[in-house]
Assembly symmetry: C2
Homo-oligomer: 214 residues x 2
Amino acid sequence: MQLYSYFRSSASYRVRIALNLKGLSYDYVPIHLLRGGGEQFSPQYRKLNHDAIVPTLVDDGHALQQSLAIVEYLEETHPTPPLLPATAVDRAHVRSLALQIACEIHPLNNLRVLKYLKHTVGVTDDVKDAWYRHWVEAGFETLEARLGGDARTGKLCFGDSPTLADVCLIPQVFNAQRFKVDTARFPTIQRIYDHAVQLDAFERAAPGRQPDSE
Amino acid sequence: MQLYSYFRSSASYRVRIALNLKGLSYDYVPIHLLRGGGEQFSPQYRKLNHDAIVPTLVDDGHALQQSLAIVEYLEETHPTPPLLPATAVDRAHVRSLALQIACEIHPLNNLRVLKYLKHTVGVTDDVKDAWYRHWVEAGFETLEARLGGDARTGKLCFGDSPTLADVCLIPQVFNAQRFKVDTARFPTIQRIYDHAVQLDAFERAAPGRQPDSE
């Protein structure tokens, strides 16, 4: 398998964690999102990924995109250890935590959106940074309420074993801290993050450990 | 089952289509997103949905949220007819089409984001409308390229039977047309939409057919 990835991309980070949790090895192909206007826009990369976004996972000649679709694919093709719980209700709970991050927080804060705000809407850096923090904080507030009030929450988002929810949460917390969000305001999220980043699969997936890290 | 829904909400529309495709009946509970500042913020509704967003599906006492997690739940609990293809690679393809809409287009265009742009960032209606169109058009351009260039595309996004991808695409096209996006520029998307809206499950899920339609 080849993973087309950018060290700082949250979506790439999710897939790196999932690959590590599944014990799968892969070739790391760096795609620099800023250099030369963005390597993701090259014609070669767009053949793999029309959207020109990372990550793309190539498995057996099939180019797969969208991080959550890739993690579900890994779950189906390599079911052990499972990243989703056993019952349909619990699976829906874990998926909904993951989707809350992937649909309600992250899309508002990715690079292309921040670039559009700055260069097309023409806002100041202060307004752009406030935008970033607003969506992270609003999302984390409800996520904190959900995680803090649910008996299924353990050392991690669902019990003590990593799931799809942790695969999404840890990169989002990392990203938030990089943008100076005080994540200590969200004690359950902070506690889960502090625990997860010490686990080998998460530690090896961290942006600072990637070959293209700067 | 009870579906907490707003007639115009794309995410509610997705779940209505999926419930109809699965042949499941449900009680429709309207949540008006604008009236009185938004009924989704009421303490009663927030007990079901901390995020204060629609839809919520209550099944056997379990409150499920996030439309894609709900559709995956319906797929697991009511597998016939399937909304995902048979092979892992094809399932990843269909999920990635759905997620491209759910993560790259829709989150940038929902009500709370447009409200923040207008009232907090303070942009004009023209800038807000240009923002809306920008993200729909950028997303539809790459979606059109993917669908138009893939032999798996049929009368619908994957072959001729409805899948999770159609469940997401049709509400997004409806929404785009409401905001005056010229969807005829995207011929494959337009063709799939025109076919799908004539199918009974999609027709009955349409915003204009809901009890809270205005």
